[in-house]
Amino acid sequence: MIEVDQIQKRYNGSRGLAGFTMRVEKGELFGLVGPNGAGKTTLIKILSTLIRPDSGAARIAGIDVTANPRGVKRVVGYMPDQPGLYQDMRVLEFLEFFADAFRIPSRQRRAAVDKGLEDSGLGARRDSFVEELSFGMKQRLFLAKTLLHSPQVLLLDEPATGLDPMARVDLRNQLKGLNQQGITILISSHILVDLEEICTRVAFIADGKNQADESGRTVIELQKEDASQPRLYEIEVLQDAEQAAKHAAKFAGVTVLDVRHLRFVVRIPSDPAQAAEFLRHLVANGVPVVKFDRPPATLEQRYRSVFGGKPR
């Protein structure tokens, strides 16, 4: 549905994108993850036809974004990181204006606007001025405007920025619902927990290029577990975690990653039998194990493994 091939873009000498490649399948909810200045916004702006790439190709639903931007606009809904709204317009007027701007036929316009009001939960505020709405309501209004022309693809650049926790939950549910209706969604976000909950796959980007994790993968499946990957285990002991960690480090193939209070985290090669052997080793060495658990490999851990722990 979205194909990006070796796309490059420079801004006044500095590089926005340096050969980024990506493929998003139809019906996916795909995340784009990377530090500030990685090129996420540039990529989404290119896909939404706001800027032209210097080289490379990008297609949405088979339509080239450079050769046929108008065709792309018909199938894409774009939501920027700071959605701009006309504060001095009423909610209804705002949606009517964009329904008109998206050339929705006059007979269907009323229904499209009413659906937008209903889906966004702003039906009761249709005559309110936009400036009177809360931040979360404004975000919902912008999303309603983005969906007016029934796009096949949604491009969302940091849509949860500035939202309170409940509004974030609300947005996540809305995006899941839209995805279940068949809309392909590309979303960039710094809120990894949100991406982890809703995305099927994520791609890492930094310095305008694809970034690979330690196993060389540039795209990570979030909903499936990969048996070939090393696993992390969190071990809680009754006393002296430092001593326990020393015993753990002696076991072949095990790496101690973190020791805190009465817990320590280790990485064990993929074979589960080895984990069982490791537990026996700890107990045999007198380590008072009270918990031996395998926390899920979170997106945050993967992010750290790709980009390191320090802010960039």
Binding site: T49, L50, G84, Y86, D88, M89, D100, R103, K145
Partner: protein, 268 residues
């Protein structure tokens, strides 16, 4: 109807300046016409005829109106595109199915319509002039047409500056610099060139002044309105040159604005 025009007009009429500026405009126009009437009719000349008062008031009104509108036109157009950048709404327009030409036309038409509204609400003041005679429909028509052409050009130039800058304050300042350059600087350049010419060949009649000396005046809105006031038979050469120059500037400004609009995705 272009949705941009409807949106722009709705938003403009909701702003406080939507009624403050027309009120101030009418008050200023009325004050100027009152002062002009008393200084013409009661200025010590007992033999002055009614038509002479009418002609004097009409000239005062035509120039005052133009100067006021030259000051007001950038207010409506210089911020038209920068406000979309400041509010971060330009991206929404550029990713909709509106073409850049429609966005430009919506902004231009709405700016010009508001200025035309001021021209129209000035009609009752103008009607006072008719009571004295000395002014016919031709004079009214040609002055109104010339004023509209000048204001259209100033609006197009201000829109260009609005597309070139990110902030309204910068676009408005540069628009006023442009208005001053066209009205004052061109006149100063003409004055300097004329004084050099006079030193060489003595006093020359208008028709004997070389075109190279007159050239700066063809950019001057006050000169354009002046040549529209001459008798109909003398109108053509200078008026049409001014018309061509102003139309060319407006067209060039529109083309450059569209080019900037197409490239403004990175700031949208």
């Amino acid at each position: 109807m272009n949705p941009m025009i409807r949106k722009e007009l709705r938003q403009r009429m909701r702003e406080r300046r939507g009624w403050i500026l027309p009120s101030l405009y009418l008050l200023t126009l009325s004050a100027v016409i009152t002062v002009a009437y008393y200084s013409t009719a009661w200025g010590g000349n007992d033999r002055i005829q009614g038509w002479q008062v009418g002609a004097a008031l009409f000239l005062t009104l035509a120039y005052t109106q133009l100067v006021l509108l030259l000051l007001l036109a950038p207010v409506f157009s210089a911020g038209a595109l920068t406000i979309e950048k400041e509010q971060r709404t330009l991206g929404g327009l550029l990713t909709s199915l509106l073409r850049p030409t429609q966005i430009w036309w919506g902004k231009f038409a709405a700016s010009l319509m508001f200025v035309l509204l001021l021209l129209v609400i000035g009609l009752p003041v103008l009607s006072a002039v008719f009571a004295f005679g000395g002014v016919g429909p031709w004079e009214i028509t040609i002055v109104a047409l010339t004023t509209v052409i000048i204001l259209g050009t100033i609006s197009a130039i201000s829109l260009y500056w609005s597309s070139a800058f990110r902030r309204s304050v910068h676009a408005t300042a540069v628009s006023y610099v442009t208005v001053v350059a066209m009205t004052v600087v061109t006149f100063i350049i003409f004055g300097i060139a004329m004084s050099r010419l006079s030193n060489r060949v003595g006093n020359a009649g208008w028709t004997s002044i070389p075109e190279s000396v007159k050239a700066p005046l063809y950019l001057n809105p006050l000169f354009f309105i002046t040549v529209s006031l001459v008798p109909r038979r003398q109108l053509y050469p200078e008026w049409f040159i001014c018309l061509s120059v102003f139309s060319a500037i407006a067209a060039l400004s529109a083309i450059l604005t569209l080019r900037n609009l197409r490239r403004s995705g990175d700031v949208a």
